[in-house]
Subunit: 185 residues, 2 copies
DNA sequence: ACCTTAACGCAATTTATTTGCATTAAGGCG
DNA sequence: CGCCTTAATGCAAATAAATTGCGTTAAGGT
């Protein structure tokens, strides 16, 4: 019987919110490697076993929190032109992900290998933002964006250098990547 | 006095080798998330505290092992032409990193945020390989490779899609990336 | 209002991590 | 080579984290 498989209301939701909030606070207060499940549980007013049962491991919980945090609050800025929208989005993306917190979020999302749900969703956000910019372009009569191309030629290098730390990801570098990356699809 | 800061000989080296070997074996035998420090210690014939004192955490040990494993055994194949060398290297790179083991190695290297040493070294291997191909090119009289460009336009997208799992990294896809990515620097 | 059961809290148990102290063995020096 | 200093290890105790059994609470459908 499939009467009810997952409960989403009331208590369950409150606990998820409390645990997420506690995790976010701790991430801002101390180094990510010093955070433990019991620590989060105490601040959230929950027993550790609840967290272990719902999320499994600290890694999975952190990935869950990271995805929430990476979910953009608003649609990308509308600057009036596709090139402007794209530059605005990419520069903001690079700045957010370059910060110590952003880097940690990326790492946490990627570290979760069990179900690729977290990483896929994280990717989806970026994809959706680019698709939104592309939709605006066509609404203006401009050619649509090559979303996959921007991912490959702009987003991917940015993530690569942030994750591997082999070079600074500056606004100038991002603009260089954008040159020739925003063509029509 | 700087008489001796780090000991590298005899016993120390044997233990490092034994621990690495045990880690590699376990990585091939079971899921990476089920591996524990005591498990590795037992197989390596070492007490857990030794591992904790030398590597700190399981994450750091795994990153250390991953870097060793990612270090290429030989120089890239010499196919006679720069384009051929590049394609050969990139296809092999993509194949290795796409496998479950390769993915796990990449994740482990990236997860180690403490000192960027692991990620930097991992990057360096790729960079050195490309530089070798470029050196061969100039030796043949061909124009040198734009190493940074290949990293940005070919390696980065491959790593991105492997890490985020948002698409298959097929040989055909790699060849598409190579088109227009291997220009002179 | 009632019933079923997913999700939780609590406490006991198991496992992992840390730490103090004794012991071993690099590696420099006479 | 033998001696000396001390980094690195082993062992065991102490601490902390992760797991598990079981009773309780409260979603959510009837």
């Amino acid at each position: 019987m499939s009467r009810e498989m997952v409960r989403q209301g009331g208590r369950s939701a409150r606990i998820q919110k409390a645990v997420h909030e506690a995790s976010r606070q701790l991430l801002d207060e101390m180094d990510r490697t010093r955070i433990t499940v019991p620590m989060i549980a105490e601040r959230a007013g929950v027993t550790p076993s609840t967290i272990y049962r719902r999320w499994g491991t600290l890694t999975e919980l952190m990935a869950d929190v990271a995805v929430e945090r990476l979910r953009p609050a608003a649609a990308p800025e509308d600057t009036g032109s596709t090139a402007g929208d794209l530059e605005s989005f990419v520069l903001q993306y690079a700045e957010e992900m370059s910060s110590p917190v952003g880097r940690a979020l990326l790492r946490d999302v990627i570290a979760e290998a069990q179900d690729d749900d977290a990483t896929i969703r994280c990717c989806q956000y970026t994809h959706d933002h680019l698709a939104e910019i592309s939709a605006r372009a066509t609404a203006r009569g401009e050619p649509p964006l090559d979303v996959a191309g921007v991912l490959d030629r702009t987003i991917a290098p940015i993530c690569y250098h942030i994750l591997f730390g082999d070079r600074e990801v500056t606004p100038d570098y991002c603009r260089t990547l954008l040159t020739g990356a925003g063509g029509p699809g």
